[in-house]
Symmetry: C4
């Protein structure tokens, strides 16, 4: 589903129509907010995709609450192409329109982050649906990471009303941070180490 | 295929165009029927997806009638983005248009439910294509669940002509019910129990 | 890729716009060529999908000619949504337009069938890329089936110039025939039998 | 993701609208730049897909830099439908517009090739993320192939400003070359040989 949402982003960019002696190159350059929106959303969805994949490799059981939270979370991710198109259309508009567009965009990402964190808190709380042998310290580090990320996305939303540019910059930084390695001593490393120690 | 149909839903929501001094925020709020349609259809397709996945884990053989019924069933699911867009466009319209839109929407879901139930009745009848060791009592509970669900979707269709709002409310309730756990003693639980008892 | 092409078909059907006192129901009924095109193409792609899947379960090796033929074949399948939209738009048009639309549609299917048959002839010739133990008699039956199917799709194309309706009817019949069971003694059955005989 | 980008290409081709006594056939013939763009892009993405698949079968470890390079590379691939639509719209236009469209198209492919090569250089350098037993000679042959390919795509970009037609021709030739077999003694062959020698 991530693969589809991420690939659909390009559909929202329409080919420009030139009339008379207009320059196609200039028209293409004027489309820069569309390219920017495409790049940011691609990076965000790509990062969320990798994180979702990593998290579900730790979740070894399932129940209907997890299923429901996951549907709502995916509903948010699949929604992203819409605020991306909005962003592309209204970044070059009036100040008021730009603020609205960036607020809707960062707001969508904040709500997505909230549901991702809820999903993780539900699955990881009391080791409810995850590997029972997972190090509680490691879990707490992950949880802190998600809660912090959510708070920062909500701040990006608030920032949109002050400076849309700063809000978008924060979103890019957040995506780049969450594509970075997780805290030292991640599960797979520890496991491998333990196995090789046994061997 | 479910993943694709569910992600395509967002394409049907177009970015609003503001003219002159119109407010973008107001225009975005006016799009609420689109968001509502997106959310309902996402929930419905997500639930059907999970149910289809669970059912096919019980179906261990295949034949050409099952293949044909499955193609027709998927044809109904992949059709859902169209009545969803119709719903979004005509919920704010005249009473007559709203009734038509909701009737087409709930009618599509009713036909989808009919084919899902036919598929299940065909596969489960005389244990035709399912695990022969499955508890007949459990099968009967599942069958009753599908037949009941189908009747309720047909009722939602009929209700559209009386009250479109009540029809949509029933559809949301049905999606939430079918995302709920299946009857006690589901196959996997029994299996696990039996295995652990053997152990 | 089949899953995506089949699900994209719905995008080509636009929601009708009613003006003034027009009836939405009537407008929806007038869209019947769109529903017909959707249903036929869904059936055709679904059938081709199942056949492609079955054939590739017999193909156990690969080379670059097969890869190239497969890309061209998939290029034809992924093209189908375009003639489907053409069909929907011009079935209600003038006789000349209807003939053109049906000819392009059936022509696309004929070319698709030609490449599918070429792919099979290449893979199965001298057991080039398939299981070497496969019964030559069975192979010949399959090959005959593909060659016959291709001839019939070419006939559907020719028929479009005489009677577009007859051409479409033949295409539906062909899709229904190819969803039917393959000749007796298919590989999997024989294998199972042999295995159970050994047991 | 490749499967989705490749299938989305068809969405960019709109059904022509005929007015009055215009000929539908002529209108369809006039769409040839759309068919050409579709065919070239399908071939290019299909070839890149196969190459990406083959390369990732050699990459046995992963890290966050690879993940990031892969996201940027996929961002380029998923972007291809946009310059394809641009190509289709402006090939029949003025010389200046045709040059711009072909330059954007070939430029996109060149940037895609650059990121693919960077990804490979990063993964293969010092056997960083690939099978440590891979023959260094074979690796050097592969690397040379990628670097050469990238240079040729950049030449296709430069050529667009001299002759758009020659640029497109070079792109088709490149796609056909990269669908051809890799240099003799590919990993799988060597492995099989070694295994059979052991046996």
């Amino acid at each position: 589903m991530f693969a589809i949402a991420i690939t659909l982003l390009i559909i929202e960019i329409g080919v420009p129509h030139v009339v008379g002696t207009e320059s196609l190159s200039e028209k293409l350059v004027e489309l820069w907010p569309s390219y920017l929106g495409y790049a940011i959303s691609f990076l965000v969805i790509g990062t969320v995709w990798a994180n979702h994949h990593n998290r579900f490799s730790l979740i070894v059981r399932s129940d209907h609450i997890l299923l429901f939270l996951n549907i709502v979370f995916l509903m948010c991710v699949a929604f992203i192409p819409f605020p991306t198109a909005l962003l592309a259309d209204y970044i070059p508009g009036t100040d008021e329109h730009r603020t609205t567009a960036v607020a809707v965009y960062s707001g969508t990402l904040a709500v997505t982050a909230v549901f991702f964190t809820m999903l993780w808190l539900y699955a990881a709380g009391n080791h409810r649906l995850i590997d029972r042998e997972l190090d509680p310290l490691l879990l707490r580090t992950m949880t802190r990471r998600y809660v912090l990320g959510t708070i920062l996305y909500i701040m990006a939303f608030a920032l949109a009303f002050v400076s849309p540019t700063a809000s978008l910059a924060l979103i890019v930084v957040l995506a780049l941070i969450f594509v970075l390695p997780e805290p030292e001593g991640s599960r797979s490393t520890r496991r491998t180490r333990r196995r090789s120690e046994r061997g």
